[in-house]
């Protein structure tokens, strides 16, 4: 019940697109989400594991068994397609039972097993419906049930929630998570939606240009992105070009700030990353990294607010707009907790919000 990828490559003929060397292990009962912009190779990666595309270089093993030369229909892999790919000439029950039928399970057995799995996704009452009588969310559940009904050791989901509205997405995220737990399958889920990726995953793999740029737990990925690229992709962030002055001191357009510079030598050019919720509203006078300015835009979001806080820069005529988030909107000052100020060396130094 595991997926092992070792320097796996599939390059589309005549291009630099595809999967260009990916190593990743997904353990039994683990759910790894793969995120990346469209065209980064994440769907290709799934198709390689399913056997729908050939691995040109590298090694792919499922449950410790090398998959070279094994066709899709002989792999222990269930897959949910973005289009669901449900069979419209079969009703819901027979769609779910299809994998068992291909494994020559008897009619009565496969129907009762399919009904069980349908029940677990709350669709047992729709067993005799035609597929095109179902809503998008219901079709998604049927596709999930069909992929799991024959007990695969690997589950692959390709943008399973992309076609659904936001409200339904959150609920189905929980259902996918539950179904994954019950099945115990090593699961790879591809998405371009960072919320989905963080919400569902045990680990998140960020993919760009055919390669994995970081694989980490959702919290680690959010708090400690390995690069500017990952930081930009996951969550909102204030990015400030800066230079390390000496131990515990950096200089940027906001002036001199206290920060943890233990990993960086003096004189290094870095990018400061500050999450919006790491900025404290109206700190006491004398707080570390206290910045005086004013709120220039406010967005009420219910339990929290997101606001722009404009700080006059050190240079005359320059100002910096910081994106902040929290229940209380700052009136005159914000403070930057030095512990939550992240210094990134890789990539081009740049300022801005993402």
């Amino acid at each position: 019940m595991s997926i092992e990828l070792q320097d796996v490559e599939h390059r589309y003929a005549g291009t630099d697109h595809g999967v260009l060397g990916v190593s990743l292990t997904v353990a039994r009962e683990e759910l790894v989400t793969v995120i990346g912009a469209s065209g980064c190779g994440k769907s290709t990666l799934l198709r390689l594991v399913a056997g729908l595309l050939p691995v040109q270089q590298g090694r792919l093993a499922i449950d410790g068994r090398p998959m070279a030369g094994v066709p899709p229909w002989q792999r222990p892999v269930g897959m949910v397609f973005q289009s669901y790919a449900l069979f419209r000439h079969l009703n819901v029950l027979d769609n779910v039972a299809y994998g068992l039928r291909m494994r020559s399970v008897g009619l009565a057995d496969r129907r009762s097993r399919a009904l069980e799995v349908l029940d677990s996704v709350g669709m047992a009452s729709h067993a005799n419906r035609r597929v095109d009588q179902l809503s998008g969310g219901q079709q998604q559940r049927v596709a999930l049930a069909r992929a799991l009904a024959f007990g695969p050791s690997v589950l692959l989901l390709d943008e399973p929630l992309a076609a659904l509205d936001a409200h339904l997405r959150t609920r189905l995220c929980d259902e996918i998570r539950d179904a994954h737990r019950r099945s115990g399958a090593a699961t790879l889920l591809v998405t371009h939606d960072q919320h989905e990726a963080l919400m569902l995953a045990d680990r998140v793999a960020v993919m760009a240009r055919g390669r994995l740029v970081q694989v980490a737990s959702p919290r680690q990925l959010y708090d400690r992105p390995a690069s500017l690229e990952v930081a930009r992709f996951v969550g909102h962030a204030n990015l400030l070009a800066a230079q390390v002055l000496g131990p515990g001191r950096v200089a940027c357009e906001l002036g001199e700030l206290r920060a943890d510079t233990s990993a960086h030598a003096a004189g290094t050019t870095v990018t400061l990353l500050v999450r919006p919720e790491a900025l404290q509203a109206d700190p006491p006078a004398g707080a570390v990294n206290r910045l005086v300015g004013r709120t220039t835009r406010e967005r009420f979001l219910g339990p929290t607010s997101r606001w722009d806080f404009t700080v006059p820069g050190v240079a005359p005529g320059r100002q910096t707009v910081l994106l902040c988030e929290g229940p209380v909107v700052a009136r005159e000052a914000v403070a930057l907790d030095p512990q939550r100020l992240l210094l990134l060396e890789a990539g081009e130094p740049a300022s801005g919000t993402s």
């Binding site: 229909w73 269930g78 289009s83 449900l86 069979f87 419209r88 994998g99 291909m102 494994r103």
Partner: protein, 252 residues
């Protein structure tokens, strides 16, 4: 307005034919006078018409079966070999029957199949083959369009991850996916085959003449007789189009 004019243009001759088929006398008047079913009885009693009627049905049926059997693998191959060669083959198939007149085909058949090597001119088999050549593209196009619309490639990928080997994918996913277009294609093929005149007239022998070929002879006789014979052909074609047009499910 334009539609109304079009309908008048289409329906007026049919209406006049229907009137004429039950009219007692129709000479030197705008409309026929009197009412009779005599003409239908005469057509029904004519052995050459009866034989042609059966021949037409047989030819239509066999043409339908043959095109369906040929169109399934043809459309399936064209769908999956969508490279340049496949696209070209598909375009050729779609345009050839329009570009090549049936008359040309007919003369070609006469040249080829009246030879000593291939003396099949006038056989029922050749007649069916000729109809298949004319109607196959329509059937193939109907099936091909259906496969594209359904996104068969993704369905087959889904089936393969569920354990279906290629032959199982074909029989359990591809074939059932074609059933609606096979039915609608068959309707078209039967209607085309029943009404086909040009090629049949050139290729059919005296003993295997199809209904439209015999029908031409009727116009040398009484008007009412010719009208009644034509109405029979019309009814036959409409019946072919109406009977299978009630599929069990909706378009899938």
């Amino acid at each position: 307005m334009a539609v109304a004019l079009y309908l008048v243009y289409l329906l007026l001759p049919i209406g006049l034919l229907a009137l004429g088929s039950v009219g007692e006398v129709w000479t030197n008047t705008l409309l026929p006078t009197g009412f009779t079913l005599r003409w239908f009885a005469e057509v029904a009693g004519d052995p050459s018409f009866r034989r042609a009627f059966v021949t037409s049905l047989l030819v239509a049926l066999w043409t339908c079966v043959a095109t369906a059997v040929l169109a399934v693998p043809l459309a399936y191959t064209l769908y999956h070999r969508a490279g340049q060669a496949g696209a070209l083959a598909g375009r050729l198939l779609a345009t050839l029957p329009v570009a090549v007149p049936a008359l040309t085909l007919g003369f070609g058949y006469i040249l080829v199949f009246s030879s000593d090597a291939l003396p099949w001119l006038g056989s029922l088999l050749l007649l069916v083959a000729a109809h298949v050549v004319l109607t196959l593209p329509y059937m193939t196009q109907a099936v091909l369009a259906d496969l594209r619309h359904l996104g068969l490639r993704e369905l087959e990928a889904g089936a393969s991850t569920l354990g279906a080997a290629p032959w199982a994918q074909f029989t359990t996913v591809a074939l059932p996916s074609m059933r609606h277009s096979l039915v609608s294609g068959s309707v078209m093929v039967v209607a085309l085959s029943i009404g086909e005149f040009q090629l049949s007239n050139l290729v059919a022998s005296f003993s295997h003449r199809t209904y439209p070929v015999v029908l031409l002879q009727a116009f040398y006789g009484a008007t009412g007789y010719a009208c009644a014979a034509t109405v029979v052909l019309l009814a036959l074609a409409l019946l072919a189009a109406a009977v299978p047009a009630r599929p069990t499910g909706g378009p899938g």
